[in-house]
């Protein structure tokens, strides 16, 4: 990267660099820490308050973030700098993220069996080769196995099936 193109070009190149964002994220975390830390009482070095270490760590992280972002300029142009993978799997990611959500919802209102089924079923749909039938079968299998293992063997205190506050099993 030559600097002869002026600062505008340098910035445009920088914005496409992965490390630039990596550093940015660290600076963000550092700022949260170092700005919120002092509100918890800093104390003195001898009697440190609860806010001392967070503030100090925040400052360190900002420094690290700046260094990481600055090192983005040394990465030669044209290297693999894409933040997203070559084939983004939005649907699969959504399915994986929805899986614990389904577990929470069905677990809170329906019990272990529906939670297990929903959790596995939703996650299984994310694969590009997944079929409805295959996902249902897998979810059923894991449900039976999960209930046997976690409810009857390990005795996790979660009703297998409940309906509006009524535990059926």
């Amino acid at each position: 990267m030559s600097l002869s193109h002026g600062p505008g070009h340098a910035l445009r190149v920088l914005v496409r660099k992965r490390d630039f964002y990596a550093g940015g994220l660290m600076i963000l975390f550092g700022l949260i820490m170092s700005l919120k830390g002092p509100t918890y009482q800093l104390g003195t070095l001898m009697h440190m308050g609860p806010g001392f270490l967070p503030t100090a760590l925040g400052v360190v992280l900002i420094f690290l973030g700046v260094t990481i972002a600055a090192s983005a300029t040394t990465v030669p142009e044209g290297e693999d700098e894409d933040i997203l993978p070559p084939e983004p799997q939005w649907f699969a990611w959504a399915c994986i993220l929805a899986s614990p959500v389904a577990f929470i919802i069905f677990g809170s209102y329906g019990g272990l069996a529906p939670a297990t089924f929903a959790c596995v079923f939703v996650a299984a749909l994310g694969d590009k080769k997944a079929t409805w039938m295959g996902s249902i079968l897998l979810a059923l299998l894991i449900m039976v196995f999960g209930v046997l293992l976690f409810h009857f063997v390990l005795q996790i205190p979660m009703p297998v099936l409940k309906f509006f506050g009524w535990s059926i099993l």
């Binding site: 070095l45 760590l57 990481i68």
Partner: protein, 512 residues
């Protein structure tokens, strides 16, 4: 001194061979061996899932089992590398280079057979080291005050983050992030709530299991979903008969085995350089020592034996700083330490004297476990290979369920399942930005103890920050930290260009 160590070890065997403990150990190595083979399931995720399920059993049994998963997985990982050319487990990535060509020549069975034996040799040395070195370390460490503990932790954290994979700078940033996540919750001294954002569920801090499963479970699944390469099972038909090495193979393996052991045990002593580094260094050493370096990569048995031995020697050696000083070298050790703390056991130099059953039982269980693994591995390879054909689309949804139920079971709290979700997203973003999230766990586990000791040291020294340099032992640790940082800077600034010459060795990692 040797006799006391041996008597203690004898006592340890008594603990490890109790029927219940033996069962947990067996279960641990069996599960470990299995997940070691499965691509996309690492020991980290497995230990985190099992962790909440061990709350109900006694601390000794729990730690024997979780440690068993750790070293059992190392035996499994080699199978994946040798038979399938899948570098899915970082410590075994380098084994692919010569292991897979051997398989293509129809000598995969021999490679596996020799590997099993070499692994046992490496592990045995690692354990021996632990038996004799830990008591010595402990005797020194018991003199440590808060200042020394603090500097030692600083050294451990720095080494753990800069010597691991990836950019050292990003590693340190991850450690600091881990320390920050460790701060969330009530302050130990004043009870002030920090960074809870008004959520009372966060008062007790972020749950270790949720953090580990978010980073190494969910983020990992998001990373590898729909990215699976076709598994080529053409060469996986290994019979027991094929595994017996010829006399020539044995002759060629002996010295690489010894060299691997030495490299591995040295790497174990330097905090932060875990099995992955050990195996790469071992391969490079072996290539340098060899009379026919040009033949490496074409199925040299030396290129399989040496890295595998060093991996195992290093895995066992990694337990030394973890168990005797309370300073974990990598994320798995941090997790095991976390498991101990959940059981109410304070890690540190006093562990050996306060809980001899745990320490010596663990050491003895390493022998037991490794013997079990050798016995298991030979007949079970066929079954493990069959398991490899389980498609990822069945594997990860099932694993998602285990993640959810595992986190829920930790405290019977649905909120923590939500924690996994948030941490999983964060972990994936960090992965895509080129961070390796392992040091987060290191910082998280050490964070609270670091803060406590730092405050105490400052209180004792009346606010004099120079206390860390005035006390000799502490000064040595700080000096080592400085050497570590300056060394990294030196290599980065002056040797940066030459690093790519090792590209050949780094290739399997890039394919990961």
């Amino acid at each position: 001194m040797i006799t006391t160590a041996l008597t203690d070890l004898w006592y340890g065997f008594g603990v490890a061979l109790e029927p219940q403990n033996l069962m947990w150990c067996f279960l641990g190595v069996l599960i470990g061996n299995m997940v070691g083979v499965l691509p996309g399931m690492g020991p980290l995720a497995t230990i985190s899932i099992l962790l909440p399920l061990t709350f109900g059993i006694k601390p000794v049994g729990a730690i024997l089992m979780l440690a068993g998963v750790m070293y059992g997985a190392q035996y499994g990982g080699a199978i994946c590398s040798i038979l399938l050319n899948l570098p899915c487990h970082p410590p075994h990535a380098v084994t692919c280079l010569d292991g897979y060509p051997m398989t293509k020549q129809g000598r995969g069975g021999v490679a596996l057979g020799v590997t099993v034996f070499a692994s046992f040799v490496g592990a045995s040395w690692g354990i021996t080291e632990m038996v004799f070195l830990s008591p010595v370390l402990v005797r020194v460490a018991l003199q440590f005050g808060p200042a020394e503990i603090c500097s030692l932790m600083l050294l451990g954290l720095l080494a753990g983050s800069t010597l691991a994979r990836g950019s050292p700078l990003k590693g340190v940033a991850m450690t600091v992030l881990g320390l920050m996540i460790g701060i969330i919750g009530s302050d130990i001294e004043t009870g002030a709530e920090r960074f809870t954002f008004g959520l009372t569920e966060l008062d007790d801090g972020v749950e270790l299991v949720a953090l580990a499963l978010g980073l190494f479970g969910m983020a990992e699944f998001m990373n590898s979903v729909n990215q699976q390469a076709e598994i080529n099972t053409k060469y996986t038909n290994v019979r027991l008969r094929d595994m017996r090495p010829s006399r020539e193979d044995i002759r060629r393996s002996i010295f690489p085995m010894l060299r691997g052991t030495i490299v591995g045990s040295l790497c174990a002593l330097i905090p932060g350089t875990g099995p992955t580094i050990a195996s790469f260094v071992a391969y490079a050493t072996e290539k340098k020592v060899s009379r026919t370096p040009e033949k490496f990569g074409t199925g040299m048995i030396e290129g399989v034996v040496c890295p595998e031995t060093s991996t195992h020697s290093s895995v066992q050696g990694d337990f030394i700083p973890t168990m005797s000083l309370g300073i974990p070298g990598d994320a798995v050790m941090a997790l095991l330490l976390g498991a101990l703390m959940i059981q109410g056991i304070v890690p540190g130099p006093q562990l050996i004297s306060q809980h001899p059953d745990i320490f010596w039982g663990l050491v003895a269980s390493f022998w037991v476990g490794n013997i079990l693994l050798v016995l298991l591995n030979v007949p079970l390879i066929g079954i493990w290979v069959k398991m490899l054909t389980i498609p990822y689309r069945f594997l990860y949804p099932s694993a998602m369920f285990f993640v959810c139920i595992g986190v829920y079971a930790a405290n019977n709290d649905m909120f923590q399942v939500g924690e996994v979700l948030v941490i999983g997203i964060l972990g994936y973003v960090l992965l895509r930005l080129g961070f390796h999230p392992a040091p987060i766990l290191l910082g998280f586990v050490l964070g609270p103890r670091f803060e406590e000791n730092f405050r105490r040291a400052m209180l004792i020294s009346r606010g004099d920050i120079l206390v860390f340099l005035e006390r000799p032992i502490s000064a040595v640790f700080i000096a080592l930290c400085a050497i570590l940082i300056l060394g990294q800077l030196y290599f980065r600034l002056f040797k940066g260009g030459k690093k790519t010459s090792g590209g050949e060795v780094e290739q399997p990692l890039a394919a990961e």
